[in-house]
Symmetry: C2
Subunit: 660 residues, 2 copies
């Protein structure tokens, strides 16, 4: 075959979506996610085409849904469906010659023009007769009545036609299993993972800081899993679903970093948790200061009882003191002078970290990593936040994630890759359930609008974003210099636009001071203990915690906010006022549509007045409707064009619920 390997079907189905790389990778979805399925399907001539989505669940149940035509001339068909079961779903699109629609279309025109009237009646009878053969009992009755009615000599052709429709001819035809010229697209797989893989709220704290104490001489005692357990209610009160812990393993002493990333640590400086491994053990060991494995297991259980899952860091690198350095030297690269290569980004050197060398003993490494992960899974961890996955081979992650998920399909891997788009996307396709994003560096209205389109549409079939407002590594200029309104704006956007969002402790206290020359907090918790008085701050009104609680409460109450692909940006006339909606159709929300419209002033230092234009058709809204601001409780009459005024110093955002 010179032109192509595939045979074009009798009715060509040109493409279907969602699809990732023509089906080389499964489309990603999570439990409760609503997907819009589409197809470009065409046919010769003027006759009508019917298109149907055939969706097969992991347990083998097949559902068929008729697809609706899109814009005229585009040959596109659409229907939405919700996935509700973990595992591999499959879908295909079938099309067939829609004889009823063709007849109906022709009949309307010809009866209006007064031509071929008796022929039209005959054709209708012929079609009803054809359908009769395979029709169910109810439809048989209808079709017989249609045949009689079209032959009724006492009525005009138009009356006969209208009566046949009133009898239910259309429905009987659509129910028919006769699908002339039936053509099918090739099946596409959808990997449906659990809800938290794509939808959840995350909090990060360093357990060693939670309950850490400093004595009068200035000497610190580390917090432990026991003391950190007390902090779980704080996390719960803010409504978070996942608590992510930086590495909890022994920390190396060689080249240990001191406060503020200084090269020499002092006596009781605890070191960076990412410099993993000491004589006490490596990745499979708990730092002695934090407690025992049992303490950890109890901590996980306590969290789970509160509805919080624990996410563990997985940083595949070693301090020079890591047991691997002696036991498995083949996992480290040698330099030309025979020494072990430390991490560097010339001319910068990171002598406290040995990167892993993957190309001498790849199988051994995979086996070791599977062992480590399996151990923590056994202790109740079902989420791993992977540190810098883009410095390790993508193929390594594909193998590790696949093997873990084969045994533990509930396990979620979050990629901490802030790097080039091709690499971030490759990691997502390799299996990472979700990914950090550029969100912290997208702050203007246009940047956000464009980025949200990318995340919710262009890449949503394989890349699931988690919108973090800060991390121990990232304190963006926007929050360094935007004052308290900046914190409120960012949390509001992350929690309502992101199906997953995250926050690192201290954000709620408006910690905004960076280490000079760096884009991260001064006196960074990565290198020292940190004692914060969350309660006092809240009492004095110096905490964002109440707002965060509200945001997570709204997420719990409004399932539309937990969806990834339903983000729609609307127009505003102001260069700083961002408007977007999240909408869940009634059929996926127990019969009631769930619609949130967020209007936010992205400029933390101004008041903005403008007009926002809502795409009513996309949201299925009438010309007039009521919205309730879930921050203030105020109710407004809204329509396509609406006036808003937002003073960032007072309240930078409306979070509107569309009232039903």
């Amino acid at each position: 075959m010179t032109h192509g390997d595939i045979r074009i079907t009798r009715l060509p189905i040109v493409s279907t979506w969602p699809v990732v790389d023509d089906g080389n990778f499964a489309v990603k979805a999570f439990v409760t996610e609503v997907l819009e399925f589409g197809a470009t399907a065409t046919r010769e001539g003027h006759d009508q085409l019917a298109a149907e989505l055939v969706l097969e669940s992991p347990s083998g149940e097949e559902t068929r849904s008729r697809m609706f035509p899109g814009s005229p001339g585009m040959d596109q068909f659409f229907v939405k469906q919700q996935v509700s079961e973990m595992g591999i779903w499959k879908y295909r699109v079938t099309t067939w010659d829609d004889k009823f629609a063709t007849w109906h279309h022709t009949a309307v025109i010809k009866l209006a023009a007064g031509i071929d009237q008796s022929l039209v009646m005959l054709e209708g009878q012929q079609l009803a007769n054809e359908l009769l053969a395979a029709a169910g009992a109810k439809d048989k009755k209808i079709l017989k009545a249609v045949i009689a009615c079209l032959g009724d000599e006492n009525e005009t052709p138009l009356q006969k036609f209208e009566s046949s429709i009133a009898l239910g001819f259309a429905q009987a035809a659509n129910n028919s299993p006769l699908r002339p010229l039936a053509s099918s697209s090739k099946p596409v797989r959808i990997l449906c993972e659990r809800k938290l893989s794509g939808s959840g709220s995350w909090y990060e704290f360093f357990p060693r800081s939670e309950g850490a104490t400093k004595d009068k001489k200035g000497l610190w005692t580390s917090g432990t899993f026991k003391t950190a357990t007390k902090s779980l209610t704080r996390v719960k009160d803010m409504g978070f679903e996942v608590l992510y812990l930086p590495p909890i393993h022994p920390i190396g002493e060689a080249h240990r970093k001191g406060p503020n990333n200084t090269l020499v640590a002092q006596g009781d400086d605890p070191g960076s948790p990412w410099a993993i491994g000491s004589s006490a053990g490596g990745h499979d060991t708990i730092h002695p200061d934090l407690g025992s494995e049992k303490d950890f297991a109890n901590f996980v259980k306590s969290a789970n009882k509160l509805g919080i899952e624990i996410a563990m860091d997985f940083a595949l690198q070693a301090s020079p003191d890591h047991p691997w350095v002696k036991s498995n030297p083949q996992w480290f690269a040698k330099r030309a002078d025979g020494s072990i290569a430390y991490a560097e980004n010339p001319p910068k050197k990171y002598q406290d970290i040995f990167p892993i060398f993957f190309d001498e003993d790849p199988e051994g490494l995979v086996e070791e990593v599977l062992g480590i992960l399996t151990k923590w899974i056994g202790l109740g961890v079902k989420i791993f936040r992977v540190d810098n996955p883009h410095t390790k081979p993508v193929s390594f992650w594909q193998e590790v994630i696949e093997k873990i998920n084969e045994q533990h399909p509930e396990v979620i891997f979050l990629a901490e890759a802030f790097t080039r788009p091709a690499m971030m996307h490759a990691l997502a396709k390799a299996g990472f359930q979700q990914s950090y994003t550029y969100f912290t560096w997208r702050n203007s209205k246009n940047e956000l609008a464009e980025y949200f389109r990318e995340l919710s549409q262009d890449s949503a079939d394989f890349f699931r974003p988690n919108l973090w407002v800060n991390t121990p590594d990232i304190l963006s200029e926007y929050i360094q210099f935007g004052g308290r309104p900046a914190f409120k704006i960012r949390a509001t956007i992350a929690a309502t636009a992101g199906s997953s969002w995250g926050m690192y402790a201290g954000f709620e206290l408006y910690e905004a001071v960076a280490r000079p020359g760096a884009e991260e907090n001064i006196d960074n918790e990565k290198f020292e203990y940190k004692k914060r008085d969350f309660l006092a701050a809240e009492k004095s009104g110096a905490s964002l915690a109440p707002r965060i609680s509200l945001l997570n409460k709204l997420r719990a109450e409004h399932p539309c906010l937990g969806q990834l692909r339903n983000l729609l940006v609307h127009e505003s006339a102001d260069a700083a006022v961002l408007v977007y909606s999240k909408h869940l159709e009634a059929e996926f929300n127990q019969g009631v549509p769930d619609t949130i419209i967020v209007v936010v002033n992205t400029d933390p230092t101004s008041t903005r007045e403008t007009t926002v234009t809502i795409d009513l058709r996309a949201l299925g809204l009438p010309e007039e409707f009521q919205v309730k601001d879930l921050v203030t409780g105020k109710i407004y009459q809204w329509g396509a064009q609406n006036y808003v005024k937002l003073d960032s110093f007072e309240e930078p955002a409306h979070i509107f619920e569309v009232m039903q």
Copy 2:
């Protein structure tokens, strides 16, 4: 495997292009076409990546070309190559760990920072030693010299490094067959067809009009292939390469159409050539008025001698008098009343045409069609212009074209499908070598710029456009009402922007009057004979033929104009002034770049003055260069920004050659 069927390679190659539907269809190319090959390829960490295109010709010759990185951060690599042989080409992209580039990058930074200097020398020696193993004799010598030089104790590290580069370390490394971590993309097929499949100039005339005579009583004598042979020099003088003939078969008498598409023909009205078939025969027969098969074969030979190929119309439909109606009634649909269905688009009826019904005897039809096409191929026809292919199943065309091309790879099918994009694209993927386009209805600057981007970039891998300025069915409003400048503008754009372009006889005579209510010529040649005095028109200056000759001469002289994918739209400050270039790199044109820049006033009723901005980088041009207007012969000094003034009444376009 839960996540995907494909294993990600050690160095991930995310995508390669050109590609059509992930390789389900071969990429289309034509002999002489230059393709830009690209890949998105990434890797972990900071080490450098090398990428190479491996291109295999139909005869099995493999060439490797190093690819060049694109914009920073995009992980993209590019290289252009020209295809020169008909048949299936294959390409893949291989990447590997570019140890030399990594060493070079590190060395430059570390030597500048004064760190690890002796280590850098050692690493260089180690790398040169590794390369030595597989190096050729010449490179071995270089590498040994590099090793010695890097160890030279009399020089500073920087001197040693620079000497090693001067010795040719880079080239020796790039020549190495050692490709650590080598990864390959999957092979993609390119179907390279002959040049006319994508690049050529077409003319259309009705042979019955060429030499037709009218006696004193007003009775016509049809032109014949013999008389039409005399018109070939006219076609040749205008520089056309293909002459397309409307159907030359017997014409039905039942419901024959009269002049101006009237329903009743008079005695000697010749009827529409598309109402094929009479008692004299069908698609395998020549209309008796036109001559014998031998006359036709001679006509084809005469044309070929002049360098003109004959394209035959293939309209798969029948008049009610077609022999098939009796011999093969299964090829026609019956209506409910038992009569044969004629063509209709309710409420319009086309009772002179019976469409073909494909679903009762598809194999029989394919066999018949293959027989007909093979017969005409035997008589010298290598191009078929297929009438309304979109009213026949796409799968039917896939089979027919594939089977014909298996035996006759030189045969070209042109799809006359003016319909929805999905169908036009499906037909192209099914195998049609080229397609009519919406060009006649794209007349404003912005419409043209957008459409050219689509044709030369978005769809060029499978859809090859032929830009017709008119047809017997299309006399656009633009030329109906734009006066002579409109004709000049459209011919200029079609011939210089289109790798293929076409013109129907009469255009050169500025025939602009439409039948009222229709978008086609009045007194249309489809329904009557037409006698035109081309010579007299040219003598009196009332012919566009000299301009057309110039345009086709420029096409012959400038190979850049025959390329499809090299069209680039540049900016102009005026809403009507369209600017585009066609550029062929020196390496694909015997060492001399070939660049044409067209500036055209698309408003036929005004004079425009504006500034045009040329993308110098894309054309490889310096800040200043000379251009020669190939219409007027005038030479201008040009640069990035240029003043132009175009008076459409006088001369609406500059066709600039960039002088070398």
